[in-house]
Symmetry: C2
Subunit: 458 residues, 2 copies
Amino acid sequence: MNTNIFQDELKSLLADRFSVTEAIRANYARGEDIFDPVLPLGIAFPETTEEVSKIVKICYENSIPIIPFGTGTSLEGHVLGNENGITISLERMNKILEVNNEDFDCRVEACVTRKQLNEHLKDQGLFFPIDPGADASIGGMTATSASGTMAVKYGTMKTMVIGLTVVLPNGDIVRTGTRTKKTSAGYNLTGLLIGSEGTLGVITEVHLRLAPIAESIMSAVCHYPDLESTVTTAQEIIQTGIPVARIELLNADQMEISIKYSKLENMEIKPTLFFEFHGSETSNKESIELVKEISNNNNGSAFKWAKTTEERNKIWKARHEVYYSVKSLHPNSRIYTTDVCVPISRLAECIMFAEREIKNYGLQAPIIGHVGDGNFHHTIVYNPNDKDDYKIIREFSNNLIQKTLELEGTITGEHGIGINKKEYLIKQHKDNLPVMRMIKKSLDPKNIMNPGKIFDLD
Amino acid sequence: MNTNIFQDELKSLLADRFSVTEAIRANYARGEDIFDPVLPLGIAFPETTEEVSKIVKICYENSIPIIPFGTGTSLEGHVLGNENGITISLERMNKILEVNNEDFDCRVEACVTRKQLNEHLKDQGLFFPIDPGADASIGGMTATSASGTMAVKYGTMKTMVIGLTVVLPNGDIVRTGTRTKKTSAGYNLTGLLIGSEGTLGVITEVHLRLAPIAESIMSAVCHYPDLESTVTTAQEIIQTGIPVARIELLNADQMEISIKYSKLENMEIKPTLFFEFHGSETSNKESIELVKEISNNNNGSAFKWAKTTEERNKIWKARHEVYYSVKSLHPNSRIYTTDVCVPISRLAECIMFAEREIKNYGLQAPIIGHVGDGNFHHTIVYNPNDKDDYKIIREFSNNLIQKTLELEGTITGEHGIGINKKEYLIKQHKDNLPVMRMIKKSLDPKNIMNPGKIFDLD
């Protein structure tokens, strides 16, 4: 590696869009994760796929590691800098390139965010339903196979991404996928790249499916006397096959925090489900009747309906702000998040196990859950200077992972592996790792694309 | 290669479950495709994944090509024998291993067929909704990323397969995926293997999602004055976002054949849509009202409703028998099938283009279509001994592929590439092929797994 040569080449390509200023490098040194920042050698700000290709070719020639960077909202260390590498911020690639509203699809540059896209779509009767807590970039959401509160109805990024433009580790540009609803044309490279966390290439454009906005959207909140009856309600609704668009759990601790942070009126500090129904007025009415019956049998409160669009937005804004609501309590702290996901029939057992462990360890760990998918998170604040704090949290996390695998679950429902879960991936997919490594080595023989993320090479 | 040594090893492993008898080899020499049979050196009939692993290890040591074989209903040459290789028939691996009806999933051996699975599930309130024309094996359907008449509601094998047991080219066994609804745990190997057509490994077990059987199922048939109004009806229904479970096109030629072959009473020799609605009684009623309105605007006939389950089954049996109905007209002929798929807004243009081309070439080419997905097939009978016949058909097919790609479509919606569409894959995904080859070479360095299918190595 000759640091000067490749930096000179990048400067001559990008001029002031390649920065080595320390303050800038510090801004792109980590995500919203638990790791200490690592400053890369420089930050590139390309504006086109062709520019990304040229940057990658320079790095490939000089064996310089590359970290692709979207909005930096990763929770697992995906975008942690590399002290011998550069970070490519895609923030200038934020254009919506086409919307095909007759076919319910669109094509966007990688750093278009989910909110930006939905703002753009709002008068077209269509929307993009994948909504992690953060206003993440579509490229980053693709790289981590993200989902959110509506996956129970609309699926995840695996469902919604139909094609990608990707710059490979050697700088070549490939366009995968098709605009059609289905295809059997060769290896599913789109599917392989979704969730590959920047280790196989830089995603520069994403082709997405969109969903029609339902004729009737109804949101409600319901409280329960205890956590178990809350989870059981969710479990029974899914097992009955009732079509809900959202079914989100907040435990009592989280409700207390969210009521204050998001100024939720008329809400109680009790385990709670947030519901949403998307359909026709008639079909929603039918679904709601069935849901109410199950909820009543589990001692749920009366449903508190959002009466206006503003009220509805307020509920879901509160849900999306959960991470920040917890973080606001301890501004200089870090947050450890868990992300296990189990088959729906095992959800109550898994959540109740976690709840007991939290008490045993004396942790403050509010719970939120995409319970329709069997997925839930703890949001655990800790002091990064207190090593014992971290040790206890990791021990709790290890136990939860162990239990999850016993229940035939997965170690990550939607956040990905990054650095934080590499050892957990080995526990879940030890036999798959040789295959993952073969693919990585064949596409990225110099190991320059986000090296050290997801798994280590031998 | 030492033919004797590896054959001796296979015999000592499998005894009479490894056959070199010519009559047996002839039975596994091709699928339902246009190719002349190629007899492999022998046929292995393993009973367990571990046995498959041992067979593959023997072949790997001796660099012997392997063709995995399910029900042999492939249309594109996927299972055509290799004269220097063996074929592994998975027909003895036909057990349903588990059904988790609380979580809507199941695990089956590769040669369980779709009908066998649905027969097994019928009293459990669940079903498996992917239904190609043939009673194909689940393993084969996974390998080709199959779909069928219900993809418009339930998706394709990409949607329904959540995990696989696969024997890699070196004989190692890997288990991919998870029972959960979503996961972000490392590379999506399940997704990569779906549609890899036996070129990356032998699929021995498949973990599937299932769907709850709808409370109300209603089927109807509707005739139209011409092909264009039929397709336009389908297009408008999809673009309005009305939830249909099936919407299938048969043109007048196909209706004439199917009415005779499948003894359909009260049906007319006109372009026709077969509909099915899955929902509650109320939601179906709503959907049907909307569909009828669109249909009437396009001069559709009165809906002919299936009044009993038997009548309903008869309609869909006729639809599934289409390939065999055409074949029955000319028992010693071969059938060339097309399989293009376009964005729904381009469907009428694509089908009408094809219709004009068929007339220009003077072909007999009945059309059927999964029109809700933008996917349609011609079923073209020809005499394999008449070279000119084939030349004309291929020319028609080439033109259709060209048009499809201009309309941003895909060369194969559901049948896969096999041998027949290799040159078309180059047209669609030239820039993807180097990546596909890298993956193939890294997982199968000796090129023993279904070599020469999907693409040629350099």
